[in-house]
Subunit: 399 residues, 4 copies
């Protein structure tokens, strides 16, 4: 297989904490594993602190570092802006980048407010008319087992869908002494478990089923309402870093539960929490249909369980499919032999592969900013329902 | 171990379908495996059809059969009335039996209406003052793994409880051609998945956590609204028995989902359905607390998963405890060596053991009729919430 | 379904410890759950100590008790002799019973010596010519999942079989202070892990595959060679009962591992041990074939994992079949709805059902004494191989 | 954390098929994720065909490509030679590289013959005296769960070890039409399942237990003895690539089973096969000790199951430890948050990290060539045992 020469394309990444590290790994890897139509050049990473950002650039392999994202997103050698900052700054950066004619990959949630998200979706739509692509980073869609699950549903293997059961369970703040990091502060993070992890299961279940949530009834809960202040905090970079002397108020939800009705008649249950002791990253969902059912758990992400309800009952049951067949499973031909598993970071590599491919082929990437907005509208309906005695609340349509 | 001579006690069982068969097996077995303080005598089984009931008596080992439950519950040689009929007849039989001074074991749900259930709870309370015992048959409490889970919670091993996640998933009516059996008819069954199987997870989660549900927000759903009529139907005995030519309307829910707040501050999610293809009897729950968590699944009922959150994170994780240790696990000393599992029917044997023991020791059995009423009130709140746009609805208190 | 009147048949059970208890439960239950062609009458149980045996009779529901097995096995009202004693007394009792024209159900292992086993097999063959039935109690064959596994193999669903992997792992004597009970004494038990539990996996893998082991290469090992003497010991009844002051020598194997070649070309691996900490009763096997594979684990005995290798690789995987479908899985129509599991004791009920049915229909029961002999010959070859530097050793043929 | 400037070190990689691709990903990633004391420079990749190798260099990010490994291993800008060719060429390349004063990382098996492996171990020993490091690539040791398992054993958490059970099950050649690729040809591959995958479980079980195998008793088996010839074959690069018209003889084993005695008294069972339908890469082991036990399965490689036998039996059981805690689990601090799993390729990154660290710190890497030789000697003993009627055969000591 002779390697085709592919055009280079310059990347600016804004933010370099957890997501920035994951995206860097993906940008570095994608062309080495897949035959990408464009060859990404890791040009510049932007952060708030010059030294920290310079260290990060060197560490993660970016050619340059900087502290001025406005400058970075307008550079001629930059074609893609990759936004890895917290949600509070997404809108401003994305709008500037789109205005500058750059393709934009924006981490989820699209934004912390519906208004901003709407503005972003509208800007993206306008930019799309000029061939400018945008995509919101719901990376878990690119778990091969999940992409494959979507294919099974699309092919009618589940029949009519009756039930969707989704959960995203973590336990990293069960300890009341865990500090008040930015993810627990509404002004930066937008929301808590609901937006951070609940958003993923909203996206995934809609993606896999091909259906949209119409209405929700939910409860948000904050179990620990005050926490020690962290010893330092930076909007763009801080993860947990010890505590200082003060006490602060937790302004986001620790947990969110909601029931949902889908536009295909299915009933959905959702639970997102950071208080499920023993659950590290238990993102999972189950979909039950008239002809078959599936189960997925991210902690064992190379596996999809599939029940074929059309088999004789004596032989039917959930089967453990290792989604690692290069010949037939999505993305896997580029990786390792069957049974040699891939991990979390690969989802970003796949996401970027698809983004580059869509740019090269002038296709519209998914999930779009409009999809990102719709997910925000679902979360907003949960918030409104919770504030309104859990009343079943319609998801608004904005576009 | 010299066997003590124990007093005999006469039993009348009303109804002899699925539950009657399970109870018969338990009455026959309990004294052969456990050292019961009273020796049950399987005196009479009562049904609607004389011949069928006579056959059943012979088959299941009852000395006599009859069709007149009113006569049976007043006989002098009867001390315990075991009610295994559908919910619509529970109240009338139980009240008569209690009035006749008989101890009453009544299958769940306690009754099809709150009014009847309240009357039963009041009658049971009054009878209790005379030493007459009553108990409602939430048999799953007597799964050793569940009884053991209750002990872990009671001993503080889970700490403060944050989350309860419960499900009861079956798939026996996914086929639209499955006939309209009595369990799908409101006038006999009272309710559908909610009352039949949802009631079990309400009871179990309250039992294991020691907390009560205060309010619920739910959605009931009937996916298949019309079904072929069964070829025959008998209030007391009919299970699925083929179809006749007509079509009838399904008057109960196929599925029920609801969120709940507990009086200890925990958040609960509940899902009961007969439309989860691939799930045979997937009764399961998870409880997450500040110090530990548990997971249970009835299809592997001899196992309890326990996560000790107080262990160092490097060594912590859900451990698979086989709850089959005769030396330390509830009920197991009477059965087989560790790892030799027991099954569904044993839960009834344990239930009856405890009932006989309570009668002999003049203790109050649990779950009481009042407990049964409280569960009905939870289900009633779900029904009201569903009818009222899923509003968070307080569980009423009647006693 | 009108119950047919069935002929009564008297049972004498010799021995009343662990196996006696399990068999009693089965004799008591079989006719209440299944439509048996003969109605067993639990006539007499025989033990060494009059009072203990009388207590046992009363407890387990036998009409009489006695201490003279020779008398019992010749009584006119006895047609079946059920031998539940340790292996050292099997031969004498079985020969006497067969000579008296009684059908014999004998617990495994058939005997402690090849010579005795051969004599029993010959006697059984001779008796068979007179219509006298005999069967050796490898109860695990009657786990529905295992019977179903046999059917899958028989129907060609596994194709050509390449690998058999079997294990039986327990941990009840890991503690060096566990006393020297009869099962650790060669003169009573015959052998250790090999004969007690290894025999089961030899039987099961031969049964499921329909193939015979031709040669074996093995290692026997005793990890703890001396143990405290138990406080009391009775040949027929003693299980673990505390320790006395002395120390005794362990004369059986703690563990046995062996490889095997089957007459169908398959390669087998076997491991039986009482030193696998954390394994309670982990009897399991896997069979891999050209068209499919199966996995079974007794601790979750209602489940069979089946991989259909003829499915497209993208959809293939081990599926979890709950073997609880009354319509299609062996033995299950008589029990509970799908997903309502059965346990250890049910295997004995099924065994007795089949024995009674074979007696009524004048069919030859399996496994026969000859089958039991063949299994003893496999174990004997393992012992000889272990003593002979693990040389691959042919299984002898005696009949 | 200010990034320290680290010295650059030039790498030549010989071979660029499956292993070359995996190593390339590791060389490219290691410094971006870990703080390596040396900064690897991916200088040159060497293969047989100029164009293919040039494509591979471009694809995988090597600065140059070449076809003359002798030239490459003596270049001044090369300090590390990474041998990724089939076993038949390992010795020649390694000896040349060591002679040229280069550090050598050599894929397993060390060599196809004991003689060559011995020569390599001796050369490595001699080179070590000059500060030249060598390491054999048993990458699975660097699965964090396995490294952690080793720590548990080292800390005495398993107590005295009784049983080791290991398997490596694949199914990629079950189809008789699968072609005769180089891995099925003895002159290139050295051996079949035994050397290719059996070697991994020999290494892993010795590594985790800290014990050495003393003697083995085994059986090798070739189920399909003739296969279609592949359409093309290249010693250094060919994986499966279709078939041509001819038929060839399979000269290696399809499966190997063997029992082993360890020098700590433990009993081991091993099974390596390419004929286990449904098993993709089922590398797993179990270790049972007096104080605890562990279970591992590579298909779910981020998890270790640990049973603490010192807990009360009522609470003991195998616990599922997600080995993804950055604070306490090996290698994980550099990756993602808990529960965000890593995959197969990461084992190579860890291996290279350790190799670079040992070079920088002048420590001796493990597994050494001598360790590699010892593993070959174990495999050799299996081969001799199989050829000698499975006799228990001592593992030779050569150094």
């Amino acid at each position: 297989m002779t390697q085709q020469k592919s055009e280079k394309i310059g990347i600016a990444m804004i933010g370099h904490a957890f997501m920035g590290k994951a995206h860097s790994q993906a940008w570095r890897t994608v062309g080495r594993v897949f035959d990408t139509p464009l060859e990404p050049v890791m040009q510049i990473v932007v952060g708030r602190d010059a030294q920290t950002t310079a260290d990060s650039a060197k560490k993660h392999g970016w050619a340059e570092s900087g502290t001025d994202w406005r400058e970075a997103v307008t550079r001629d050698d930059i074609s893609i802006v990759d936004i890895c900052t917290p949600g509070s700054s997404h809108s401003e950066i994305a709008l500037a980048a789109l205005a500058a004619g750059k393709h934009v990959l924006c981490e989820k949630p699209l934004s912390n407010t519906i208004e901003e998200a709407l503005g972003m979706a509208q800007a993206a739509k306008k930019a799309a008319a000029q061939g400018i692509k945008s995509m919101v980073g719901f990376n878990y869609r690119r778990v091969p087992a999940i992409t494959f699950a979507r294919t099974l549903v699309e092919n009618g293997r589940l029949g009519e869908i009756y039930h969707v059961r989704a959960r995203y369970l973590q336990d990293w703040i069960v300890d009341p002494e865990f500090p008040l990091v930015w993810r627990l502060q509404k002004e930066i993070a937008g929301s808590g478990a609901l937006g951070d992890i609940g958003s993923h299961i909203v996206d995934l279940t809609q993606y896999v089923t091909g259906a949209r949530i119409e209405a929700v009834s939910g409860i948000l809960k904050t179990f620990i309402t005050e926490r020690p202040l962290p010893s330092s905090s930076s909007e763009l970079t801080a993860e947990s870093e010890g505590t200082s002397s003060g006490i602060g108020v937790v302004t986001v939800d620790d947990a969110a539960v909601f029931n949902a009705t889908f536009d295909n008649g299915a009933l959905g249950t959702f639970e997102a929490t950071r208080f499920a002791s023993g659950s590290k990253n238990d993102l999972g969902f189950e979909v039950f249909g008239s002809k078959g059912s599936i189960k997925f758990n991210f902690e064992d992400m190379n596996v999809l369980y599939f029940h074929d309800h059309q088999l004789p009952p004596s032989e039917a049951g959930f089967r453990r499919i290792m989604v690692t067949e290069g010949d037939s499973h999505p993305y896997m031909s580029a990786w390792w032999p069957p049974g040699h598993i891939i991990g979390y970071e690969h989802t970003f590599t796949h996401e970027i592969l698809d983004f580059l491919t869509d740019i090269a082929n002038d296709h519209s990437p998914t999930p779009s900013f409009e999809d990102g907005l719709q997910i925000q509208l679902v979360l907003d309906a949960v918030i409104r329902s919770s504030a309104n005695n859990s009343q079943l609340t319609q998801v608004e349509r904005k576009i």
